[in-house]
């Protein structure tokens, strides 16, 4: 009996002896909310430098520092190779436990992007748009939205009119004096879930558009676009991408996109492109396509 009790204590002790304890270094605002609201999750996807944890339709990204900070990202020095998709995850405000690995919140910092810098005047931003468009045409991957005007792929044929409808919608939105508009959101919904990639190109495009509207303090247009995105019917995009684009609609964008848009509004095209190149394979370019299209419309409307 005594032996049995001792064995039981040993087992209990072993349960709490983690083979790996990894400190979480930084947490985005929405990542912190995920950990407060959900006690369990599962590993939804495992990549080279990151994993995604899922609870219903909510996601959080646990990533190595090289991925960059984001509103839904928890940064930790770790290698995801030992983790498996489908593994159960225990979540508390103090730690995240996956198998025998514990990520603790003992010394984390909250990450928020800095305020947007003061933007150049619109006449100069039009020239920035011109440079960005040329760079995109030359450098963006063929699969995304950065090169839809030079290609005859099925994606380009579908995407071109939708991007043009979005630009038209944005022009109309900027032109109306009312704080809320009755303009159809179809032009926005048509982009959601469109295109290749883990986060479809259209979703990334909208994230770029939102970031530019926020940076240029186009509050009415930002609110209209955010409303259109949040009111979109369920099922237009993947749950993971929905989570990310919803965050952007709520005013939360990742560090790399924030850097890129800040550089754009200050006229530093090279810095913007350098930052864009660090965001996935085509996601950054798709964000840039959205940012450039939006900047062109806003700058033209304000310069006129």
């Amino acid at each position: 009996m005594l032996a049995t009790s001792a064995n039981s204590k040993l087992v209990d002790a072993a349960r709490h002896t983690w083979s790996r304890t990894i400190p979480i270094l930084r947490s985005g605002v929405l990542a912190g909310d995920f950990c407060r609201w959900h006690s369990r999750a599962e590993v939804a996807a495992v990549f080279k430098r990151s994993i995604f944890l899922r609870h219903d339709d909510a996601f959080v990204c646990l990533a190595a520092p090289s991925i960059g900070n984001g509103p839904l990202t928890l940064i930790a020095e770790f290698n995801p190779s030992g983790l498996r998709r489908g593994e159960p995850v225990s979540v508390t405000e103090r730690d995240i436990a996956i198998g025998d690995t514990r990520f603790n919140f003992d010394r984390w910092e909250l990450w928020r992007p800095p305020p947007w810098p003061r933007a150049l005047e619109y006449g100069r931003l039009i020239k920035v748009c011109r440079s960005l468009a040329v760079r995109m045409t030359a450098d963006a991957p063929a699969e995304g939205l950065g090169r839809i005007y030079g290609q005859q792929t099925a994606t380009a044929r579908i995407a071109r009119p939708r991007v043009m409808r979005f630009e038209s919608w944005l022009r109309d939105t900027l032109a109306t004096d009312r704080a809320t508009t009755n303009l159809s959101s179809a032009a926005v919904h048509d982009l959601i879930g469109m295109g290749h990639g883990l986060t479809p190109s259209g979703d990334d495009f909208l994230a770029g558009a939102l970031a530019v509207l926020d940076a240029l303090v186009e509050r009415k247009a930002h609110a209209a676009l955010a409303r259109a995105i949040t009111a979109a019917p369920h099922g237009l995009t993947s749950p993971l991408s929905h989570c990310l684009v919803s965050a952007a609609a709520a005013g939360h964008v990742g560090e790399r996109l924030h850097l890129a848009v800040s550089a754009i509004t200050m006229g530093d095209v090279d810095a913007a492109i350098a930052s864009i190149r660090t965001i996935g394979h085509s996601s950054g370019w798709d964000m840039l396509a959205g940012a450039t299209a939006t900047l062109a419309v806003v700058a033209a409307a304000n310069a006129a």
Binding site: A44, A45, F47, K48, F52, I126, R130, A133, V134, R135, T137, A138, D139, P141, A142, E143, Y149, G150, Q152, T153, A154, T155, R157, I158, R160, P161, R162, M164, R165, E167, S168, D190, L191, I192, G193, M194, G195, H196, G197, L198, T199, P200, G202, G235, L236, T237, S238, P239, L240, S241, H242, G280, H281, S282, S283, A296
Partner: protein, 490 residues
């Protein structure tokens, strides 16, 4: 017979780069015509549908699912490709397609990569096009600007600069050119031959070059000038340089000019230059009244007539018997055109038959749209394409006007054009026939198909689809208009 295969993987999240690599690898396999790996969102199903690789299984996928879609030559190739896709998805680490793109950051870098290039094609938003064109000119390159929305002052400045450098500036808004057998922008696959074309109109060049090709002839070069080159402000700079070029070209024996009627002073300038050539010309200024041409030139009233004069023979008329209008239908003709010049040509055919015709883009003698007359609509005009692509790229632009015409009891004949070639929609006839499938057997529907069997869409296949759907297909746009007139007893 192509085979479409789809496989759906539920709740699959893979890195974008992995999906794109596998997609490219599968598309490159022997016997595979098209392939794509995307998540199953409604918008992506539109893309797969557009690429003609969406099957029933893929159509049922949800937005969290991954669709593997491909089209192959036959069952065996499809099965092999799907097996390879599964293998790569199960072991994404073994997909290792190089990702570097054969692109350059600038025209200068592209020129360094291709130092023997002598032409730059510029297709960027219009307000960026002039600066790129200037860079190309500075490198000694001829330029084709596909972009529209370039200010006319910029166009004049660019063309003057090009002329000073001895270079050809095709465009802005140059939709079609064939240089030394290489199709640029919207153009058809036509054999090389001894007829040179110069056109301010993209679809005009396409129709004439295709009629020539189908009649057994060929094209030496087709030089697009842009729609405004014959306006007074521009003064036909490119047209005159193109005449010089084709006049000096040994491979060109006959030159065809295609345009809307120019300003009088510009017409004189052009025709004076024509008169100084030793070569025969065909002048097709669509809608021009009382055009006097030099002795070495003949005037053509229609695109079809221009092709006939260039070929020196009458092109076949078909079919011989006009279709019968169904009982209870009106006798008005509604033309719905993707090609602006084809719309103009139809108006001219009606005008020459003494019939009153109206249009949103009227030729001389026609009037702006009004009720109660034959109506020819150019669906490429701004009011239809603002915020949308051109109907040659997106045939859905014609859907609403076509449905309206089908529902209009006063309309007895509907005239359509289907324009094929590089840059156009992959299956415009397929799109049309889907829309027409739901119609009652009300109106007579006539169509012309501008293209050749060698085009990516194959004219033969497109015509077959249309005739299967009960559409009467004529050999040319002018013949479709003539047949419409005969059908209504005109």
């Amino acid at each position: 017979m192509s085979v479409i295969v789809n496989e759906v993987r539920r709740s699959t999240f893979l890195d974008s780069i992995v999906l794109m690599r596998i997609s490219r690898q599968i598309a490159a396999l022997s016997g595979v015509e098209e392939a794509g790996l995307v998540i199953g969102t409604p918008a992506n199903k539109d893309i797969l549908q557009e690429a003609r690789i969406l099957g029933a299984d893929g159509d049922k996928a949800g937005p969290g699912d991954l669709i593997v879609a491909l089209r192959a030559n036959d069952d065996r190739a499809a099965a092999a490709a799907l097996a390879e896709a599964k293998r790569l998805l199960d072991h994404p680490e073994i997909s290792g397609v190089p990702t570097s793109e054969n692109t350059s950051r600038s025209i200068r870098a592209a020129f360094q990569r291709l130092p023997n290039a002598n032409l730059a094609l510029i297709s960027v938003p219009g307000h960026f096009a002039p600066s790129e064109a200037r860079k190309a000119l500075a490198l000694g390159l001829h330029v084709l600007i596909f972009s529209d929305n370039v200010a006319i002052k910029e166009e004049v400045a660019l063309k003057r600069e090009a002329r000073e450098r001895g270079l050809l500036m095709m465009g802005p808004d140059c939709g079609t050119a064939i240089i030394a057998g290489v199709p640029l922008a919207f153009a058809n696959v036509v054999p090389r031959g001894n007829i040179g074309l110069i056109g301010a109109s993209g679809t005009g060049i396409q129709e004439v070059s295709c009629l020539i090709a189908r009649a057994g002839g060929g094209v030496s070069h087709a030089i697009g000038t842009g729609g405004r080159d014959l306006k007074s402000e521009v003064g036909a700079i490119t047209t005159l340089m193109a005449i010089d070029a084709l006049d000096a070209d040994e491979a060109t024996n006959h030159i065809v000019l295609i345009s809307k009627p120019p300003a009088d002073a510009v017409a004189k300038l052009v025709l004076d230059r024509v008169a100084h050539s030793a070569k025969p010309f065909t002048i097709c200024f669509l809608g021009a009244q009382d055009l006097r041409v030099p002795a070495n030139a003949r005037a053509a009233a229609t695109l079809k007539a221009a092709a006939e004069l260039a070929m020196g023979k009458i092109l076949t008329n078909e079919p011989a018997q006009p279709p019968l209008l169904p009982f209870g239908r009106g006798k008005l003709v509604r033309g719905l055109f993707a090609g602006g010049t084809l719309c103009s040509e139809a108006q001219i055919v009606f005008g020459r038959a003494g019939l009153k015709v109206t249009s949103n883009v009227p030729v001389p003698g026609a009037s702006p749209a009004a009720d109660g007359t034959h109506l020819m609509i150019d669906l490429g005009a701004d009011e239809f394409t603002r915020g949308r692509p051109h109907p040659m790229i997106e045939p859905a632009v014609r859907d609403r006007p076509l449905l309206d015409a089908l529902a209009d009891p006063t309309v007895g004949v509907i005239l359509l054009d289907v324009v094929l070639g590089y840059g156009g929609h992959a299956d415009p006839a397929g799109h049309l026939t889907k829309l027409l499938a739901a119609r009652d057997q009300g109106q007579v529907i006539l169509a012309s198909v501008t293209g050749t069997d060698a085009d990516p869409q194959s004219r033969h296949e497109q015509v077959h689809k249309l005739t299967e759907a009960g559409v009467i297909v004529t050999a040319s746009n002018a013949e479709a208009a003539e047949l419409a007139i005969r059908a209504i007893g005109g």
